[in-house]
Amino acid sequence: MDDRKNIKMVLNIALLLVICIILWWGQQNLSAFYIRILNLSAVFVVLGISMNLVLGFTGMFSLGHSGFMCIGAYVAAILTMSPASKEIIYFMEPITPLLANVQWPIFPAIVAAGIVSAFFGFLIGIPALRLRDDYLAIATLGFAEIIRIVVTNTITITNGALGLKNIPSVKSLWVYWGIAIITVIILKRIINSNWGYAFKAIRDNEIAAEAMGISIFGHKVLSFTIGAFFAGIAGALMAFLITSVDPTMFRFTFTFQILLIVVLGGMGSLTGSVISAVVITILMEVLRVVEQPMNLLGILQIPGLPGMRMVIFALGLLLVILYYRQGLMGTREFNWDYILDRIDSIRKRGTST
């Protein structure tokens, strides 16, 4: 058993190394376009797994993710924009003097974004998490919209509908994927800890969980807050990726995209969310061809059908939820044990014959 542990550690390190090499290679050789898509998918990875923690592992149907992203994006943007460009951008009403001259480096800003939206997650969680299922869903959706509308109307802080631009641009795969990987590791540790068990226990059977001394409300708030924290970080990343933000980006319809990722990947599987986040983000681009006017083998001419991509995704969502509920991974995770067992069994078969 113990050597199995060592093997696994070695394998994990190896895996990390491989990823690093891939990132390094990508940074060198990939075109700006592919790098952007990969970065975007990293953002969606963070979004997907953080929503999965709340939805898949703790069983709380929260649709508030876009709201927390919104907070994160704005915090990061305001903290990192140069005072000079703040002067220009806030041309309707000047920014409050408090924020006018702050200019932080990227990483502290990202962390701050996470903390601030975690704080709001906490505040919102305390009332909202008394609710269940669809009431929780509609309430969190409501909170997300409230956040967005408040952001739209507090012009001296957020510049309202005019949005913010000249946000420092970050392109490096290392930043986005680095953060994505850290997020995965942290969430994986949480899920395999007592706390993770407690979350799952709550999802499986609240009454029993409480009878075993797990404070339901406390753990729900905890999980929700962690989710909000990473949503905020994802928001910050989004801001640095696009370098301009405005409130309309964070409509609740955006949450549905994340939901799509979580469901297709499998509610209760980090691995699933990671895979489907990447796949869906890439498909978003690949499927553009469906919307271009095209001719099949020169015979029949098909006019471009804008919107076809979303039809495909909607169908995908429906089919999965109806006929393949566990999604790509169900609640299974990628783990070495499985692979090693396979190898062993194969070796055994080899020796036995």
């Binding site: 800890s193 068990y197 407690a198 226990a201 999802r203 059977n205 009454i207 409480e210 001394g213 905890l222």
Partner: protein, 258 residues
Amino acid sequence: MMKEVLTTDHISMEFGGLRAVSNLHMQVFPDEIVGLIGPNGAGKTTVFNMITGVYTPVEGQIYFNEQNITGLNPAQIAKLGIARTFQNIRLFNSMTVLENVMISKHLRRKTNIIDAVLGLPRYNRERHEHYQECMALLKKVQLDDVANEMATSLPYGKQRRLEIVRALATEPVLLLLDEPAAGMNPNESLELMEFITRIKNEFNLTILMIEHHMEVIMGICKRIYVLDYGINIAEGNPREIQTDQRVIEAYLGVDMDA
């Protein structure tokens, strides 16, 4: 005279004007096994739910080791040392047998989630201790061989046992068993009786149990309370109960082994 572990000081519960339990005064003393019986719908489970804080009694107080626990939530009460099982088994279906038991250690944790994320030694140590303890428990009840099976994959009898072990893992002083013998045939319930007495002595527990199987009740309970329509119609040792006129009436037409 020994101090009582649990006292329900004239507690009552109502659902929409309907009195489920009224004015129940019940005392449980250290290392007793006390039975709580009565026809279906007599309000037995409601009593458990009040003791464990799922419901707050509309009247009366509940004392546990002379501490008033009325109005505490189930988690707090579990921390104080009252554990329970459920009439309809409530295991954590997506988890293995071991994990089901590990959950119960969560309330005895000393480390926090940050330690867990950082994987600090003190967290790993604690985690390892919990693991050891749980495996030991499972060994005691011959479930260690299925530790890594899915809880739901176990046969009915073992699921019942697992539920008891899960309760034991919270290191309780008082254990509430809600129809542990439900759906068992005579010699299964015989085993169960031995099992209960064994764990009682091994973990020096006090046990309060709801049961329909009269032979179980009469076999292992020192004292018995009888509920009918939420009212405590009789209390005493098995012989007294069996001969009590009101009890017989209450059960009249009801098969004693139902």
